[in-house]
Each structure stands twice: as C-alpha cells, then as structure tokens.
Subunit: 163 residues, 2 copies
C-alpha cells in the first residue's frame, strides 16, 4: 500500500499547465460562440424565459477574473454580473482582458492551495480545484445553451471540439 501511495504522489494526472490550457481552450471556443451571434440577438434573443447569451457571458466575466484573483490574493471579491455591456465589441474586449488576467494570475496559485477549502465570493465553500472546475464547467454549460440559441436562429455554431 505504501508503494502505491508513493507512486500516486509521483505521478500527476493533470498538471497546472494542463489545467490552464484546458480552461483557456474552452474560453477560446466560447469567444467564437460570442462572435457567431448577431449583435442584436446577443443581447435580446431568449428561449424559454432564459437570459440572452450576452448576459450569460457577463456572468462568466464576473466569475473568471475576480474568482481567480480571490484565490491568488486571498482578498474577497464582489460578485457582480451587472456589467452593463451592450455591444459585442465591448463584450469581446472584456473577454480578452480576462484572458490576460488569467494568464497572469493562474501561475500564482500555489500547488498546496489546490486542495484547500475557500469561500468563493464569500459564499461558495469548496476547494480551489473544485472552484476552478466550477468556473470551467459553468462556462461549458452556458455555452451549450448558446448553441441552441444559435441553431434556433439558423446560425451554424463553431465545432464543439477540435477533437
């Protein structure tokens, strides 16, 4: 059993570099989905009483950079998705700005932090790794909804995966 444990510690299923690439890869795809929307429908089009895709993107912007900064600095950030963005170009500009912030802050997460518990935005308690996966999975989830919006507008969405 001790040999097994030692071996487990020496092998890494996923490195921090893999995780960053995974996250930014998904963000690149989401960027292409934003681009695929006509500006009007990005902010107005809904199905089943859900938010327009642009509002979902504002939620993603409100989570990613502030959530990551909070992990790195330990200082609580405010969750505020009410960003008041009303143009596609501004949405994309803030998306790209977030990409830069992630590149800058992500490597500052200390390895020993990943399995430590934090209270994200002062509310959601889970480990750092669970938090980061929440950021990513929540984005995939919203983007999946964006695909339906696009299809129902007769717009071909980008391929889900290069894969």
């Amino acid at each position: 059993m001790r040999t097994e444990t030692a071996k487990n510690e020496l092998m890494t299923v996923m490195t921090t570099a893999d995780l960053l690439k995974h996250w930014q890869g998904h963000r690149g795809l989401t960027r292409r989905v934003i681009e695929a929307f006509p500006e009007k429908e990005l902010f107005n089009y809904c199905i089943g009483g859900m938010r327009p895709f642009g509002e979902m993107v504002m939620e993603l912007l409100a989570i990613a950079a502030p959530g990551l900064r909070e992990i790195v600095t330990g200082e609580q950030e405010k969750y505020d998705h009410d960003l008041g963005i009303s143009s596609k170009s501004e949405l994309l500009r803030q998306w790209d700005e977030t990409t830069e912030i992630i590149e800058q802050y992500f490597p500052k997460i200390r390895l020993e932090q990943y399995h430590q518990s934090i209270k994200s935005f002062g509310r959601f308690e889970s480990t750092v790794i669970e938090n980061i996966f929440y950021f990513i999975d929540n984005e995939i989830h919203h983007r999946g909804r964006g695909y339906v919006y696009l299809r129902s507008l007769d717009i071909e969405p980008p391929f889900f995966w290069e894969h």
Copy 2:
C-alpha cells in the same frame, strides 16, 4: 528550477479519485435532467433542427463505457450511438449500467497512461486525460442544451451545481 520541478511532481492538482468523482458527479446531474423530461419530449422534442435530448444521451452512452474500456484494455471499440432506445426507463437503466462500468474500469487506468496518446474509437488522437475530459465536457455541453429544451417546455431543470 529543479526544486520547482520536484515540488511539482510531489504535488497533485487532481488525483484519479477527484477525477472519478468529478465525472460521476456530472453524470448524476445528467441523470436528473433525463428524469426531468416527459417521456414523449425526451425522444421527440427538438429546437433548431437539433436532436432530441434522448438521442444526445445515446451518444453519451455510446462514448462513456466503450471509450473507457478501450483506454483500459487497449482494444479498439466501435462507436455506435444508434442504440435504438425508445423509453425513458431503458435509457436510465443503461445510464446506471454505465455508472457501474465506470466504477469498475476507471481504477484500472494506470497512472502512467494519463499522458500517453491514444486513438479513441480508432479516430480521435489525444492523450488519455484529454479523452476523459472530452467525455465529461461533451456531456456538460449536451446537458446545457437539454436545459434549454426543458425551459422551453416550461419545466424547471435541476440546479446546475450543488455549489
């Protein structure tokens, strides 16, 4: 630099147990989404020319257990989503059967395999860890689409995350 590398090797961002829990956690949520659909709409309801949710679920079934078995045994499996399932109970039964297969096979992935490249279903070349994330992310993506179907049917979907 050497100290950094050694430290990196000794710390694990994500253990195999975390990854299994992450996958099965998502599968549990997808199961609740399947359950939320009325039987008729599960197999007939579409938006924007996309497949009914039941067909997306058959794709997920066709990927998860065969894809994982292939990783473990090294023997190429056939990708076949044409499962001919037409009842919700049978879809859920096969979902649960897949849950068991995953529990059984997942621990058999050898740690040194995770960063090795394979050709999934004889077609998609990527590392084992990338493959597994594809299985998970593709499920989140389809499930996000299922949420729109439910909402447009005036059905409240389950919470996205316990989180």
